[in-house]
């Protein structure tokens, strides 16, 4: 019998591919965001709002991850932005390889902002970087106020947290401020935004955060 040392890190292999994706996006001066969150958290709606408000100013493309259907992709296409649906089949997350393939179908010369909607899930996407400049996690108050502490790693590893549907917090007996405190206890440096699709001011905060990230990243990419 022989022992053969392999030292092959499975996640690092994905990370390396994600680095390659980022290098490509930087070359074309594209700002990419990875939007993660459970099914029903409102990812698609918040992305639609961002597209509506930013599409006249910036060229936007979307990668829409879905287990099987193309429902979300068609919602983005209706807004007139190029959309690549990525069906993961039985998988519960996007990975760098799937994004690499999708990037080949996007006209990066004509893209300023690439929005990647991950598959609805708070667990699996954590281990897989895609090649994003900004990792965003969206939760809604309807998921219950213990949702944060049940999924610590996604809040620990994201760079922006959004608590959505705060207009119905009272109805579902959830305190959105407690959710914010829980997020900050896991990750004291993370910006937290509270949103509701019925409150334009809150949507503006969400949209300006994306725009700010885009401008800052673009400045860095030009150097």
């Amino acid at each position: 019998m022989h022992v053969i040392n392999m030292e092959h890190d499975v996640f690092k292999a994905n990370d390396k591919l994600a680095e390659k994706n980022i290098t490509k996006l930087d070359k074309y001066q594209v700002f990419s965001v990875n939007v993660m969150g459970a099914i029903g958290s409102g990812k698609t709606t918040l992305i639609e709002e961002a597209i509506k408000h930013l599409k006249d100013k910036y060229k936007i493309a979307v990668i829409a991850g879905d287990v099987v259907a193309e429902m979300d992709a068609s919602r983005f296409r209706k807004l007139g932005v190029p959309t690549i649906p990525v069906n993961t089949g039985k998988e519960c997350h996007l990975d760098a390889k799937l994004v690499e393939k999708a990037l080949d179908k996007i006209d990066l010369n004509n893209t300023d902002l690439l929005i990647i909607e991950n598959v609805g899930n708070l667990i699996c996407p954590v281990d897989f970087k895609l090649g994003e400049h900004l990792r965003i996690v969206i939760v809604s108050v309807t998921e219950g106020d213990d949702i944060i502490l049940k999924h610590p790693m996604i809040f620990k590893t994201s760079e922006l947290a959004v608590i959505n549907k705060v207009d119905v917090a009272h109805a579902v007996d959830v305190n959105a401020d407690k959710m914010r405190d829980d997020i900050l206890s896991l990750n004291p440096d993370i910006p937290v935004i509270l949103t509701s699709k019925h409150d334009l001011e809150s949507l503006k905060a969400w949209i300006s955060f994306i725009e700010l990230g885009l401008r800052r990243t673009r400045e860095a990419q030009r150097k």
């Binding site: 053969i4 392999m6 890190d9 996640f11 998988e91 699996c124 281990d127 790693m153």
Partner: protein
């Protein structure tokens, strides 16, 4: 459940390495899994076995060594997460949460940077080759 895709990657790597070394059978596959990964060792082992059916890895023992998280702090501390603090936090139900809650530097108390605990490494494989078999039969 993303164990299946990870198991695919592991299976491919193991097979390629084993065959490159002239293996007739893979006896052991040893993995190191960080405690902060969202991967379940039993499910991973199950998926691997399903994939390996009919291959030289079919009967391989799947050994998973769990790796505790480690920290690096601005104050200079480098080392594992404070086990004492974990015990104090034991009323917290999830093991993952306990580890994440303990991501403070045991020296200065500030939030420290994770340096380990999120890895999934195929550490080694143990194989049998034609030569081994010939030697055994002597």
């Amino acid at each position: 459940m993303h164990e299946f895709s990870i198991a695919c990657e592991i299976f491919e790597q193991v097979q390629a390495t084993a065959l490159a070394h002239g293996a007739t059978e893979v006896k052991h596959v040893t993995l190191q899994m960080g405690r902060l990964t969202h991967t379940n060792p039993e499910q991973l082992s199950f998926c691997f076995k399903a994939l390996a059916e009919g291959s030289i890895s079919e009967n391989a023992d799947f050994i998973v060594e769990m790796v505790p998280p480690s920290l690096e702090c601005a104050c200079g501390y480098m080392g594992p997460v404070d086990e004492k603090q974990i015990r104090e936090n034991s009323e917290l139900k999830s093991e993952l949460l306990v580890y994440v809650a303990a991501m403070e530097c045991p020296v200065c108390g500030k939030q420290a940077h994770m340096t380990g605990g999120r890895e999934l490494i195929i550490k080694s494989i143990e194989i049998e080759t034609e030569k081994d078999l010939a030697a055994d039969s002597k």
